[in-house]
């Protein structure tokens, strides 16, 4: 990380200003100098090569820090699949991979590209388009690449990415390179066919259905080969793994080594999401998902090896918006086809420049706070805190309106480190089942010492305190990391003076069910 601490700290208004201008008059004279934010400084890139960081810094799915500021969208153009996974039921939206089922709208490449333009014109932070299903994008190569072609012609600033199970990947690497796709995600759950046979009942391969260990052997060979071919060509590769307790949980450490040695730049280990009503093999046979502590322990075990990604929300593949927010209802096919879309590159870039300013300010604030922390008595204590936020890296969500909490680990050595997020049902749902909902929230953040919110009522405040989770609203609308470090300093001081006793927290639940904005 470099130390460019000489930038100006800017307030939050420019973002709102620019949004306002865009809303009032498309293409107003907001000047833009080409949109190249010279940002060498951030709290993400320490262990990434600069050229990789340059590529991922505005990518909400890949840069933990960018997901506060930038948005991605997925379009569902690829319904067919060439393998079967035990955690997938293709009739329904898949909770494990970013994949909608048939209940989501399927689009033709022409409809998809219109939708992308419509969304990008309305949401200037939309910087990434992904194709992730409903099936496997590379089992639908014609539709997938046609969509990329149409979009790269009209909206060249949008980054393209795709997710695949990897079976067909080696056949399409050249086409992927040709369309300048800069990120590919491969779902790799095993490198040992014996493990694979418990996850994949069959694959469709060379015009035959292949089953069991043989199927898993072919799949893993194709995945490794595809990964090598992509990294040889300098295309960024992320690996997703679904953690399935008792089947591949221990084995994923091996997977992590295998993909790292082949050049994957990020490994995202996601919890299995499985409930009988999903109708998947795992859902029906009672296969459980991991607890929050089990997931974190595995992510920590792999972290020494390579970058881990912890902010993935397993969002639906046709979701639109910032991570954790879904605006897809505004962009149904009927609505898009009626929209007059004029693609306005200039205001998009002006908006993105303002975002960069805000990010720099956030990083500076964190750094300043971190410096004061270093002077305090160092301690081995580590605590987790939950944060209610709707983006921009600030504590800006009401406790009762939060449908997810971001979790940070606080320590003297690393300050505030993002380690994951917890989905919860909205606590404040207008009256019914509130008691249950509050209990769900507590279970989801039960491993946290405190919860940071912009606002909270008296009643939930008392219940949280009784459960041993300290509700904190004094940092409302401040930057998350700066506030968390300030809180941690105070926490250490209180422990030291004997005012409070540090207690280790228990485990927490991972909510089962696809993330769909309520």
């Amino acid at each position: 990380m470099d130390d460019s601490s000489s930038f100006d700290v800017v307030a939050a208004e420019p973002l709102d200003d620019i949004m306002q201008k865009i809303a009032e008059h498309k293409g107003c004279g907001t000047s833009s100098d080409g949109g190249k934010a010279s940002c060498g400084s951030s709290d993400g890139p320490d262990d990434m090569a600069p050229e990789i960081w340059e590529k991922v810094k505005n990518h909400p799915c890949y840069s933990e820090e960018a997901h506060h500021h930038y948005a991605r969208m997925h379009v569902a153009v690829a319904p067919a699949c060439n393998i079967q996974c035990n955690y997938c039921n293709r009739k329904y939206d898949c909770a494990n991979e970013s994949r909608p089922g048939v209940v989501s709208e399927k689009l033709t490449p022409e409809q998809a590209s219109k939708k992308v333009l419509a969304v990008a014109s309305t949401i200037p932070q939309m910087t990434v388009l992904g194709i992730a299903g409903p099936g496997d994008p590379l089992a639908n190569p014609a539709k997938t690449f046609k969509t990329f072609e149409l979009i790269s012609q009209t909206a060249p600033d949008i980054k393209l990415c795709l997710s695949t199970n990897g079976l067909a990947l080696p056949d399409h690497v050249d086409t992927i390179a040709k369309y300048n796709v800069d990120h590919v995600t491969i779902t790799i759950n095993m490198v040992d066919p014996e493990v694979g046979a418990q996850i994949y009942p069959w694959i469709f391969w060379n015009h035959k259905r292949v089953e069991g260990i043989e199927a898993a052997r072919i799949l893993t060979e194709r995945q490794m080969k595809g990964l090598e071919m992509l990294t040889e060509r300098g295309i960024l590769c992320k690996v997703n793994s679904v953690m399935i307790p008792g089947i591949n949980d221990k084995h994923l450490v091996e997977v992590n080594k295998a993909v790292k040695s082949r050049g994957a730049f990020l490994h995202n280990i996601m919890p299995l999401i499985s409930a009988p009503e999903h109708g998947t093999v795992f859902g029906l046979n009672g296969q459980r998902g991991p607890s929050a502590q089990e997931l974190k322990a595995l992510q920590d075990a792999c972290e020494g090896e390579m970058n881990m990604m912890r902010h993935c929300r397993q969002c639906r593949a046709d979701a639109v918006g910032l991570l954790g927010e879904d605006r897809s209802a505004e962009f149904t096919t009927d609505k898009i086809m009626e929209m007059e879309v004029s693609y306005d590159l200039e205001s998009r870039q002006a908006y993105q420049n303002a975002v960069e300013q805000e990010r720099l300010a956030k990083v500076a604030a964190k750094k300043a706070e971190m410096e004061t922390l270093a002077q305090e008595d160092a301690s081995d204590l580590k605590i987790l805190v939950a944060v209610a936020t709707k983006g921009s890296g600030r504590i800006n969500e009401h406790f009762g309106h939060a449908n997810e909490f971001q979790v940070y680990e606080l320590s003297s050595s690393e300050g505030a480190k993002f380690v994951g997020h917890r989905r919860v049902d909205l606590y404040c749902q207008g009256g019914y089942g509130e008691e249950d909902a509050l209990e769900t929230v507590i279970r989801a953040i039960n491993d946290c010492t405190a919860v940071f919110v912009a606002k909270i009522g008296h009643c939930p405040k008392d219940t949280l305190s009784a459960a041993g989770i300290e509700p904190i609203d004094q940092y409302a609308y401040e930057f998350i990391e700066q506030s968390a470090i300030a809180y941690f300093k105070d926490y250490l001081a209180r422990v030291k003076s004997g005012e409070i006793v540090h207690v280790a927290r228990g485990d927490a639940d991972i909510r089962q069910g696809a993330f769909i904005e309520a």
């Binding site: 319904p79 079967q84 089922g101």
Partner: protein, 77 residues
Amino acid sequence: MAYKIIASQCTSCSACEAECPNVAISEKNGTFVINPKKCTECIGHFDIPQCVAVCPVDNTCVIDNSFPRYQAPGGAA
């Protein structure tokens, strides 16, 4: 002679459409259907019917007994 698709089970994933060597499969009213005049049970192309092998829902692409079995030209099979 032909295979047919049980519409109530079809997920409309379109996987079979792309695999059929005879272009016998197409989308109608949200699900996929096989044109019995075009389906050859994949005889002469592949060892197993492609729609059956690729379909994610078991027993969805099945023999349609209302037609006689397909006879390959030349009388074999």
